[in-house]
């Protein structure tokens, strides 16, 4: 047993982090907010070329033949960078669609958020998940959708008519979303620690005050517990464990963003600070694929069935 990342996994993690830092830094993030969160097609193709969507496809299909642990590391970096777009749906659609695998087509999902669909206007296709199977539909096959004003400036939303079937969650979509939450939780911890070390009040960095220090420490504790759960679930692929990982990663992302906002004080409540973007996305991801209540029921069922 050695739970640590292998050298190859570390290299992958570093590579994706560098790619995203270069291609989706603060200015690109700001530009994405300014255009209402619509997908940057050029970036999408670059991600495709880098293997973001085809990572888990067999080499014969043009993929890298990697597994869920590697995909989790990549999606963690996406969450850290606050990369926008229907990343998980397109990644899953790559199984069926070479265009999705290459990043030349943007695929959203009609069954990830109950009554809402993300990035509908920009999407070339919408995934419908049933059981472990998937099929894609053209957006025109989903009539009567209407745009709603999205709380998350990086995730445009449409309402879909009632009666759209609610699919049981597919394990990998749940886990990859949890990985994005983990990345966001780690990033807001870094942001809070950096700010607490720089911002001075009462003649010293605010990070020297225990009240602030303890907020930051709890952020790290939440992140590391979620990390253990997410990484382990990627290895075991056990659905109960995946549900637990989503539960803890949702909590880490949401509560860390809140605490990060608190550490930033008044600055944290402004549009200019990045913090609100993490919080809003974390809230949204918390509703995607598997909610906390559903995850808790799955965990309770596992307890009951072990009796």
């Amino acid at each position: 047993m050695d739970f640590r990342l292998t050298d190859d996994q570390r290299a992958l993690q570093r590579g994706v982090r560098e790619l995203l830092a270069g291609r989706f830094g603060p200015e690109a993030l700001r530009a994405a907010v300014d255009r209402g969160g619509t997908v940057d097609r050029e970036l999408w193709r670059e991600l495709g070329a880098a293997g973001f969507f085809s990572l888990r496809l067999p080499e014969a299909q043009g993929g890298a033949g990697l597994g869920l642990p590697e995909a989790v590391l990549v999606f963690e970096e996406a969450g850290r960078a606050l990369l926008n777009g229907p990343l998980v749906a397109t990644h899953v659609a790559a199984e069926r669609s070479p265009e999705a695998a290459e990043g030349t087509c943007v695929v959203t999902c009609a069954t990830q958020l109950r009554s809402l669909i993300t990035h509908f206007a920009a999407a070339d296709a919408a995934l419908v998940i049933h059981g472990t199977g998937i099929r894609t539909r053209r957006p025109k096959d989903l009539p009567h959708t209407r745009p709603v004003r999205s709380m998350d400036p990086l995730t445009p939303l449409h309402r879909i008519p009632d009666g759209t079937p609610k699919a049981p969650p597919r394990p990998d979509t749940v886990l990859l979303t949890a990985a994005e939450q983990l990345g966001s939780a780690a990033r807001t911890t870094d942001m809070a620690v950096r700010y607490a070390g720089e911002r001075e009040q009462f003649g010293q960095p605010i990070g020297g005050f225990q009240a602030v220090k303890h907020l930051c420490a709890q952020m790290l504790v939440r992140t590391e517990l979620a990390r253990s759960a997410v990484y382990a679930a990627a290895i075991t692929e056990d659905f109960t464990e995946i549900a637990g990982a989503k539960l803890l990663a949702d909590e880490a992302a949401v509560r860390n963003a809140r605490d990060c906002l608190q550490v930033h004080g008044g600055m944290g409540f402004t549009w200019e600070a990045e913090v609100h973007l993490h919080l809003k996305r974390a809230w949204l991801r918390g509703q995607m694929w598997l909610t906390a209540a559903e995850a808790e029921e799955i965990q309770a069922d596992a307890l009951a069935s072990a009796l």
């Binding site: 047993m1 050695d2 990342l5 253990s228 808790e296 309770a300 307890l303």
Partner: protein, 377 residues
Amino acid sequence: MDLTYTEEEEAFRARLREWLDLSLPKLSARPDPLDWPGRRAYDTTWQRMLYDAGYADVHWDASPTQRLIFLEETERAGAPYVGANFVGLLHAGPTIAAEGTAEQRERWLPPVLRGDEIWCQGFSEPDAGSDLASLRTKAVRDGDSYVVTGSKIWTSHAEVADWCELLVRTDPDAPRHRGISWLAMRMDAPGVTVRPLRTLAGSAEFAEVFLDEVRVPVANRVGEENDGWRVTMVTLSFERGTAFVGEVVACRRTLGELAAAARANGTWDDRVLRRGLGRLNAEFSALWRLIQWNVSESQKTGGVPGVGGSVFKLRYSHARQELYEAAAQILGPDAFDLDRQWAADRLSSLSYTIAAGTSQIQRNIVAERILGLPKGR
């Protein structure tokens, strides 16, 4: 990332399981928690059995993964944990092994492994709990002895201990971390008085120890004079590392028992309670994975668990308390029946956010040593 155990590790697990199946029935019934001599006899008998089977030094010599397996399997089999042997096996022993002379190792380590001698810890003082370096118990050199005067508190197993690992101030004028020495003191030395302290759980888990001109041979000092702080720091990290492995296994079992109780008395139909148990199940599964993460990390540092233990302890100690709060809601008035294990465990869970460094101290450690935030004033 690999969560599978090697063939060698699985063989170790299989041998251990087989031995536990054969040996545990030979152990007498667990003594009453208030019967200290009975507890000492029980714990040392178990240690002797481990010694005879070659498992006594698993905390010292085995790989971190083997130790993890050992703790997992012994807890799963319902075997005793280290109990009264705790300080000797996990604290004083490793300190002497790392910092003692050849004579000191020869004198003190074998009896610890055989279960012949019990140690207690004389670190904390009434005015020096979390702020350990402010301790005031003084030791004055007189020929080949130190003459020790002062008092210690929260000394677990003091009533049945043969030896005490004692931190004393040997240089009152030095900066506070620099004037401390580490001594091994006999508990039956003239001038040592033990006064048991009753805990809120009703039992005497620890004691106050009064030291009135107790003579301790200079030869019993481990490490250099005034270098006791460094000697101590070598081992304190062990206490915060994998010490809770068995307890996480036990909590996961307890959670299963609680689910069974809830199904039996109908509280399982209460959605809030049921989801609360589900949440705790996710929490303890993740805590188990965090242990495996810490163990994997410690393999690279030669078995020293490091600060990851603080991250673990912070979450675990609170989760454990939440577990017993959930138990109290499910059991209702029965939670007040002290003859039931639930009630006693609920009370003892209150110590976890205090012992071995309060949550507030742990958060400072995480913030300063891992996150690099400035030291507070």
